[in-house]
Point group: C2
Chain length 420, copies 2
Amino acid sequence: MLTLLLRLQFATKITDRPNMREIAQPQPVLARLPPRRPKAARTLGIVGGGQLAKMLAQSALQFGCDIVVLERKDHSPAASLATETVIGDWDNPDSLLALGSLVDVVTLENEFVDADSLAALEQFGHQLWPAAATIRTVQDKLSQKRALAAAGLPVPRFAPVSAPTAIASAAENLGWPLVLKKRRNGYDGKGNFTVRSAADIDRAWAYLGGDANGLYVEEFCSFDRELAMMLTRGQDGAIVAYPLVETIQRDHICHVVKAPAVVTPEIAARAAEISRKAVETVACVGTMGVELFLTKDGNILVNELAPRVHNSGHYTIEACVCSQFENHVRAVMGWPLGSPAMRAPAAAMVNLLGAAKGSGTPHGLSQALAIPGAHPHIYGKSGTSPGRKMGHVTALGKNIDDAIATAQRAADCIQFGGDT
Amino acid sequence: MLTLLLRLQFATKITDRPNMREIAQPQPVLARLPPRRPKAARTLGIVGGGQLAKMLAQSALQFGCDIVVLERKDHSPAASLATETVIGDWDNPDSLLALGSLVDVVTLENEFVDADSLAALEQFGHQLWPAAATIRTVQDKLSQKRALAAAGLPVPRFAPVSAPTAIASAAENLGWPLVLKKRRNGYDGKGNFTVRSAADIDRAWAYLGGDANGLYVEEFCSFDRELAMMLTRGQDGAIVAYPLVETIQRDHICHVVKAPAVVTPEIAARAAEISRKAVETVACVGTMGVELFLTKDGNILVNELAPRVHNSGHYTIEACVCSQFENHVRAVMGWPLGSPAMRAPAAAMVNLLGAAKGSGTPHGLSQALAIPGAHPHIYGKSGTSPGRKMGHVTALGKNIDDAIATAQRAADCIQFGGDT
């Protein structure tokens, strides 16, 4: 009866959705239903079961928490650590509420979740961190940029574009090249197109599906380096900031992270202030990643926000007293935050990406494990494809060059793909 | 058909066992059977699902391994991390073989497993580390002492006793008091009785169930301090040795561990040599704990061996480059061993024990998490009782006093029990 009541309430609260029964496909399914045991510890629900959820779950398990994962498919890196997996569609409030009913707190490993559906969780009294409002602001890159600009934070100049003609108009102010971006669901460079001149506009518009997807443009930022900072903010507003790092992309995907970034103290301080203010602007609770551009003339611009744990913070597992994952769990559970201090002078992380289509087997792991100081992490995905994030290697060091050398040597041993 | 064949073979190989069908109670049950997915990574099977298995599983998961646990009950700390749980009796070869059929390697979190049943795993071609022969020697404390003595290692003098009268005879050589011990299944002091004079013999014999259980006696060792060392030995014989630690027991249960032990370099070197030789004597593959007595006159005696990860090595998670758990996984998977070097000058671990019967809720965890540098671990057991190991707190420090102070402050915040 409660379920029916929920469905009727949806019909009134979310007016653009027809009768829930009709659209609630696929129905959420409790993939495993063990007998309910007396709950000794807190249960954390995670929307999404990828490697970010897996590493969150590993931290939560240290504190005796149980994990429930909401995923679209049965097998995922985090599912192995979950007591139960809800198979459903995270854009569907039914699925989110099924998750909410099983846990004390819901969190996310990815921000591309329907914000109205997340709001339903809150409306029905479930704890959700970060809040639906934060997700709503951040997941749309245009609204994200608007919020940051309104808060006085430095961002690349930007403009909405509702038709290809608007791109040429925007270029009159922002110059060429322009970066045409999808407002939603873009990551690892997939939602961007650099438009070098008016001749490229139609191709760019078609490539990003401008007729179906909301797009906007940013001025092209000729950066010197890309930086990032992870921060965790508690429910009480307390913030801890991790070291500023430098990130090196390859084919638009994160390749190497160097911690701490080698910048002047003045730049580090400015980056920290900007990042803190960005976190407060979107009122994020939990761990958030702030991606920054450092321009050739020493300006810092906010590039992207990620309201979740982030690739540029994986090094914190070995490098910091309290990792980005552990602090995220502390924040969403309402526990005090831990120290982000580094345990060694330097750390480096190298991503492990699929080289070709194949199984998820980490060929050469044994050789990587023979390298002193190398810490390989293998996410346990059941298959790979070119560029797919399959794991990472972290190394600590007396200095950044030592750390990178160790991490890279180990990463070079491991290959995914080409084996089926 | 394969199962039937296995059962007939058991009847011939293990001649003291009647038809397997009759004694195979409870039948092993695959508690959850998800569709078998293509195996990308190695699968580790763990006999037992307690906190030691949980922490082993956490290390294995970092390398993308899957876990299958064999347990007697459905809910256990490690079950949350397992893709499947086999519910069965680990003394029953059927249960062990059910586990073996699902995994690449079998290991154990407790040595009190029928050695003949473990041998069946090896006979049927499964990888088992440590080997059945190691378990067989170590699980019987008398055979353990005999093996160590035969190898020339210093142990308290000992003698078998097959009747109460033998105790008095033994005292003529070994003096009073004597420690009467169960040969098998004793841990946390439960299998010991200190016999102060002949007047105590009958009471001691009855207390330990001497008519049913094999017993033996050891001379009483008036030790100055108790020390311990964790070591990991690979399948190729390579050994890494962790720092020597001091352990402080309370009511026969481990209470505090201090790393490194504050002893002379000469004592540390001797302890390391004795421990290495002990590991080689029993040919243990994987992580092993060697418990030592340091006598008032500076002698080192081997007290106990544990052919598994051990309470005195939990500090290694934060304190060492590669924890006892990670190195155990590396060893049993046939991977190179990692560094046991400490990351800080000192570390301390304080156990969290149940104060009274109750739920498994860690009351006061939030306050403990507010203490900088405290690393609480909560095992996630669903209930508690007095003295039950429910978690531990580790802290690193510039020196051992700092580390203990931090760990103890945090531990004092947390209480288990008295809440139902």
